[in-house]
Amino acid sequence: MTQGSTATATGAAMRLGPQPGEVIDRNRTIEFRWNGRAYQAHPGDTIISALAAAGERVFSRSYKYHRPRGLLTADFLDPGCQLQVGDEPNVRAAHRLVEAGMDVRSQNTWPSLKFDVKAVNGLAGRFLATGFYYKTFIKPERLWPAYERVLRKFVHAGEVSPDTEHGYYDKRYAHPDVLVTGGGPAGMAAAVAAARAGARVLLVEEEHHLGGHLRWGDDTARAVRAELAEQVRSEPGIEVLTDSVVVGRYDDNWIGVMQRNLPHVVERLVKVRAKSLVVAPGLVERPYVFTGNDLPGVMLSTAARRLINLYAVKPGERAVVLSANPEGDAAVADLQRAGVEIAAVADARRGQRVVRARGRGGVQSVELADGSRIDCDLLVTAVGWTAPTSLLNMAGARPVYRPEVARFVPDPAHTPDGVLAVGGIAGDGTLDQLREHADAVGREAARRAAQLAHRLHGALPTRPRDAAPQPAPVTDPVPIPELPLAEHPELFFSTHGFVDFSEDVSSKDLVTAVKEGYDSVELVKRYTTATMGPAQGKLETVNTVAIVAAATGRSIAETGTTTWRPMYAPVTLGALAGRSFEPIRHSPMQPWHERHGATPLVAGQWIRPEHYGDPAAEVRTVRSGVGIIDVTPIGKLDLRGPDVAKLLNLLYVNKWSKLDIGRVRYGVMCADDGVVLDDGVTGRLGDDHYLMSTTSSGAATVWEWVENWLQTEHPDWQVHVTPVTTAYASINVAGPRSRELLGRLTEGVDLRPEAFGYMNVRTGTVAGVQDCVLWRIGFTGELSYEIHLPASYGLHVWERLIETGADLGVVPFGVEAQRILRLEKGHFIVGQDTDGLTQGYTAGLGSLIKLDKADFVGKPELAWQAERGGYPQLVGLLPVDGDVVPPEASQIITGGGHIAGRITSSRMSPTLGRAICLGQVDSGLAEAGTRVTVRLPDGRDVEAVITAHHAQVDPEGERQRV
């Protein structure tokens, strides 16, 4: 590829003199690169207008046949104008403004745009007909992957680079009364009318300037544009977003808007909750289907007019115009003014038709239905319009086909109250009629918005109770004048040609599909992929429907359209993603952990220390001396009220009626299907005051679950639940010397075993911090105290423990050491040693579950489980070879590879110097002493013995009771 640095910048062979409506800044010239060569443009040019001004007319190669493609619509939808710009693929180059230094390249060409090797596909076209994929490459089966690799090379698109940086994308919310989508004359008029009626209005325009088709119209049109634009500007209640597009309308007028022209961000998604939506996208000009209709030089009348009037680009030298409407006639006048020779005007209203365009690399001649053949390099067609009704369809409206106007028209009867349509999508008429209609609709949209606001805001708790009531909104609807629909001949196709340019689907393909039995428009779409390309059917759908209708002998109305789905316009993943909002949670001691080399562990939203270098050493220190662990994420619920004991009795499988003040108790919760839900200890701090702990991961779930039982089943119970998980920093001080360490820092609590025994709770002062809650419990199996202290002092107390315990050899320990300690002690972890179907008895809770309680959550299923027997059981296991740690999830098998259980937890025990496990096994294997076979991931089988206890260290629990 040539390096542009050596090439001369290519000038402006086709640039016209100044045009009255032009949007380019002739005083400045910028340079960019096209396929490696330098080109010049004026600010305001689109990439394509600059290239067209330089005389370029081929911008891409087509999907299947690699035919050269040029300008068709000269706007966002243009199927032949998708280019690679730097690392951005599929840029709509007829919409994107040129920027200095842009590196623009054609896509899908090899080795070059002018000479494309894959163009031989064109010769093979008759064999690449509809559905050819389905009919071949069937046998031999083993060759399909090779065929597929070739197919994937032919993909018609740009490239993404693995080095693309994720730019700064952003979002915001907006709550306008009225959202107007489309800033043409009708959209502007509706916005102004709504604003003048008191509404806050958001006006969204896809192009870079307001004005719609007035921008490329005559002097009168431009004068009206200027007048309306000035009205919009002077209304303070209107916010205008240009180069922005509504991407979808969802339930209750929830609307996504993509905003592209911002200084601080690449793109911004505005999420709008509008009270009224006014849909004003205008009309999309429809291409005509005939042989050769995709040749560069065949373009729509709106494309020719845009080029001339907005960008001062001459679309060709000698033109044929096929005109069925005033837009086509206006194009003739524009072309003449631009100095384009008009070779012929074929007037479709008088039955004239184009049947073929010929040429290599571009139009060279055109054949009319009467057999005449005219040499030209430009064919402009004006054969009618498509109403882009997507947003209305997303609101539930079904468009109906009106043959006399040759287009689908929205059916207002099936449109929800909050959605109205103005402008070309609603009807035709003079500019004055459109403005009058839009004015009425704008006022009506404001009225409906005010009514809705009155209904929605009336009872909001956030409004002052004594505020004056909002004035009742006007109730009489604004009379909306009927818009006429202009008659238009039905022109869809004359001969076979391309229907979907981006998918390379021809009318012949559609007819073939129908003949093969794919005879509804949806099946045709799926079989041929017509309408599924980047223009999203806006150019192709109606022609597709017309051709399917003709092929099936049904009318267009009977055939109907395919479903228009969001997005209305393609939207970048970056804009949809926006900023990443993933809350994370830190304990107050996190700065210390980070300073002391903790390896972070992501546990849900929490970031926790997994270890501080050597988890096995941490375990040994806890067993022999003292360690401290940050257990702040443990869920904590403050429970107050006279009925707390009732609540605990309902939620836990064990009994709570007789828990004395100062005592804590372990409890397990099951759901009503008997499946283990959560566990933890709860302590009684006062008469009507309890502190409940839950697992870290279960904290939110348990809180919502508790509230559910209280609010829906027992609203009469007097209990208040306050989540206090992060109101407390939680530190577990564990190990034989923990009492000694704590004794040095604690005031107001007698730590002697006879005063503060196992499973008791006290409150007191630790390291000068008052209101600390101390639980004497033993998840690690050692003498240990769990301190819950006011969180703001967490770091202070932690640092004091470390300092004060230095001579005792205190170490911090992390989650991994805790997992090992608890496994040595045989405590199960909900969600690891149990799963979504593990009922209480399976988890070994038989002695805890009190079926003699009148009721508790899960009781019936647990009673039936006990009665049924034969359930799997959680057991302790010791591998016979103590050096082999069967990885968690290793399967326990019996003869023939039958699965009879699995290892749920396993570690090398630093205390015992051997492998230890917990596992679930079928009931027949649960007896202590049973030998089972464990299949390791590497395929080896090892033996393990079921033990009498889950605990392998101190099963009697003597160490924690000292």
Partner: protein, 439 residues
Amino acid sequence: MSSSNNGTGNRNGSRNGHRPLRRGRRYSAWSLLQHGLSGADWPVTFRSHPKRDSYDVVIVGGGVHGLATAYYLAANHGIRNVAVLEKSYIGSGGSGRNTAILRSNYLTPEGVRFYDRSVKLYEHLAAELNFNVMFSQRGHLTLAHNDASLRTMRWRTEVNKLQGVDSEVIGPDEVKKLVPYLDTSSTTRYPVLGALYHPPGGIIRHDAVVWGYARGADAHGVHIHQKTEVVGIDVEGGRVTGVRTDDGHRIATPVVVNCTAGWSTLISDMAGVSMPVQTFPLQAAVTEPVKPFLDTVIVSGTLHVYVSQTDRGELVFGASVDPFASYSTRGSLEFAEGVAGHVLELMPALSKMRLLRQWAGLCDMTPDYSPIMGPTPVGGFYVDVGWGTYGFKAGPVSGEAMADCIANERPPEIISAFGLDRFEAGRLVGEKGAAAVGH
């Protein structure tokens, strides 16, 4: 049950006047060449017929399950007097709305066996049906971002291996080799700790599967009635006697099979059979095409997203079902935002790709994320429903098993765990554990 159909006798009514089909015109490169040269029309792939007054079996739902059931009833059991009733066009429901991912790396032995059979059938489906369904076995990766999901991956792997299914847990470096665009650095919010790699998994052309079965069933004499909605099911003395359709027909039949997704409760209600089912939308989306860079299917259970790239270059995205039950297929902006955010968490270089289209299908979720298959308390009324998000993967094996179940009047072993009676009996299937990391 025996076939009362006259087999191939009524095949001459082809609309376009072609000679009668012999299992359709064979498709091949040779026939493609012939047609290319001669310009002749291809025969009709599947025909429409007038409705008969009675059929031996009426299947409700013209998706892959219904059509496969019809195909195997005819092909494997000689039961050809079968009607498939489809309220819209064939494949318009879940079959045409899923993300076309196939795999068999489930959690429970019964699940693995069942889906493995489905993958095996899919592997040879193109040849069986003489219709290229473009099954692309480019591998399937389920990423683990935390200990718990890594443990579940290992669990699935070990069960898979014991059932002879190719699965292994691989580390971040190997993952990076398979998917160079993936951010496998350890500093991301959701670091990739490893993945369950399942080489036989991949994607398929979902519509082609529907059309292939329709063509095969049609060739065996099955009647496919599109745009025919069932509005009632007649039950007398505890047995099905017929169905009524929206065009006023009553079709007599001793056997009705509910093969619908999204509508299974409504159809079962017509027969008076209540269901442990809730219907949720499942959304999907597709981007504009870019040059292929992603071979494997990527799934992240933690981030609720799955991604694959089609042979057309589009990325296809899916997520978990919507957060509340609904029969709406309208799609939501939150889905598009969420899926884009999660895809960029995994592959940050894709921020400039554009989402082109989003849609939704309906999923009938059961309490244990496993299907409901087989007979019901109403005689002759069978169900093949409750597929949650896994229905398309199970199309062939379900058709084969349901055909067997109907022909032999008892559920074959491969679906014995999936009976409707398991819920009242408290025998839920253990697939619940793997559901969080599905697709």
